[in-house]
Symmetry: C2
């Protein structure tokens, strides 16, 4: 039943213009947006297309936030844009939807980045309690990009 | 720069045995787990492989939670397992990591589901305020699966 490889197609692209971040959805998916305007926040899944090389996809460990004072970590323990499958997920505030254009507050992605899914943000039914993260995540110094 | 199609490879599989949910990671990605045990929660991205047919991937609207009393919605406004790219993301409590086996509290996926990414759960720096969802999300009746 399980294939060895799955195909992912862009459903739209990120456009950065002036200070705005707009996701332009492909015409074929216009009807897939019905009701999205009822949500205040959305999860945008996109593809780190600039890193789609065998070398970058085979990178299994990095220094988080490219800061060598952070502990060397497995890519699955970071949000690094180097990973076997170049999937990113960002939760964004939805500002407006105008036909095929979705305006969000901001997204940490380059202009022309392919978007591969949009999901509504639904707060967890089981609230996330006792959340624990390593020290490097909390470090103020390493938050600077 | 942008390709029309990207390749996604399973990095592991979900195994449901007894009451446990275990993610078995492929040997090639053992080192990508370094430091993951420092997090209490992880985001598991998986592929709705049972729906990987052109018909299901071309479905753009559904009744959320398969309940026709919910408003017909675009798939991007739901978490439905029918969508152009069959990507699911679940935030799970990390219970244990033993070599290539990651035990989590639960995950709403079938046995043998391909896992395509693991990310650490990091609470938002900008806390999510004024979250708004449509009525069907809140409806108790429609929460029953």
């Amino acid at each position: 039943m399980t294939s060895d490889c799955f195909q992912v197609y862009p459903i739209g692209f990120i456009k950065k213009q002036d200070s705005q971040t707009i996701i332009t959805i492909r015409t074929a998916y216009k009807d897939a947006l019905l009701g999205l305007d009822q949500f205040s926040h959305i999860i945008v899944c996109y593809w780190f297309h600039q890193n789609d090389t065998p070398e970058k996809r085979n990178t299994v460990q990095v220094y988080p936030r490219r800061d060598k004072s952070n502990p060397l970590s497995g890519v699955f323990a970071t949000r690094a844009p180097l990973r076997p499958n170049l999937i990113a997920c960002s939760t964004c505030k939805l500002l407006a939807i105008d036909k095929l254009k979705i305006t969000v507050n901001e997204i940490d992605a380059f202009d022309k980045t392919p978007v591969i899914d949009i999901k509504p943000f639904i707060p967890s039914r089981r609230s996330l309690v006792d959340v624990k993260v390593p020290e490097w995540v909390q470090s103020k110094a390493s938050r600077k990009k």
